[in-house]
Symmetry: C2
Subunit: 190 residues, 2 copies
DNA sequence: GTCTATAATTTGATAGAC
DNA sequence: GTCTATCAAATTATAGAC
């Protein structure tokens, strides 16, 4: 007997994610979540005792889902442009459809004022996504000749450009500009 | 009789800017400002009736100061690398010294939940700073051969990379990584 | 210009009935 | 698991004395 509709906990996580991605962690309350889901705020606390718990779990789920969607970066071997294109496409969908930033990009912007557990998850997103790209790049013609450090820097550099572009595209009300953006691997020969 | 110390209004703007750049617009209160400046919150309201007023004025002052520091982009003519380097240096200082993001980058991240007046100022920062870079690039060897649209896209693309890199460098606790970053103008021959 | 005092609302969180 | 009820604290903002 598998339920076909999302249960309360999942609905809470979904809404919390959407609200953070548009308004930020400090831009939503337990009552916003409760009224949106159709329960009382005490029920939200039943699943997530503190706001930090909720924030951290939203971020972890986001990162896990993100990496699953990206898939394996090196089977089969793909070009650097294809790897970057995958990242770009995943961000572009949410930005175009709902004007949503990368969850962890928003958290990073507010990071100095957030609970430690939440910041740790945001950090982890950049570690893991950077690693995904690094592993993929290593299998390309360009990457096979690059040092570990160059691969690391290039990966974070591509992520940086995508994060910043989402930020600017959204505040400018021009999501289409993000679609046109094509981050380049410098000196890429792949 | 010119005062040598900052008056209350200036102190309020200074502290509000610092708090937004680290915690975000929704991450500080009028009482944070008041206690930091050494007055009561009602005195803060005397200068800035609403939080939106304060936020908008902080953003406008930030943008004005930023552009003054950048100086004239085309007298004398400089290379694309020098223009990008100027932007980079201005961001790097605040990030390295106090872990501060670009004010308008933070506001952009939270933008969907902010008062209109504040969002307008953040938008304006990217318009004006993008224009500054565009005007400078136009005078370079690369820029003189580029279309208006290419100049526009390249300028925003460089800004995007710098904004995203600040975000990532700070949440990762690695401001030094931002210092090493050198955004490239694609196909630049300047 | 700065203060005291306070209003009105919102927030994160808890206790306990059902 | 969800509810009612409530708390303590924080928030934006205002009125009026000095």
């Amino acid at each position: 007997m598998t339920a076909t509709t999302a249960d309360t906990e999942e609905k809470i996580l979904d809404l919390a994610e959407a609200l953070i991605r548009t308004n930020g962690y400090n831009g939503f309350s337990f009552r916003d979540i409760a009224s949106g889901v159709g329960v009382k705020s005490s029920s939200v606390h039943y699943y997530f005792p503190t706001k930090a718990d909720l924030g951290a779990k939203v971020a972890r789920r986001y990162t896990d889902r993100f990496l699953v969607t990206l898939g394996d970066p090196d089977t089969p071997a793909v070009s650097a442009d294809e790897l970057v294109g995958k990242l770009h496409a995943e961000f572009a969908t949410a930005l175009g459809k709902d004007g949503q930033m990368c969850l962890c990009g928003v958290l990073a912007a507010e990071s100095a004022g957030l609970p430690d557990a939440v910041v740790e998850e945001a950090k982890s997103f950049f570690d893991k996504t950077g690693d995904w790209l690094k592993r993929g790049l290593k299998k390309t013609a360009w990457g096979s000749a690059a040092t570990e450090e160059d691969l690391h820097k290039q990966s974070l550099s591509v992520l940086a450009q995508l994060e910043g572009a989402m930020l600017i595209a959204r505040v400018q009300g021009k999501p289409a500009w993000f679609n046109d953006l094509k981050p380049k691997i410098s000196g890429s020969i792949a």
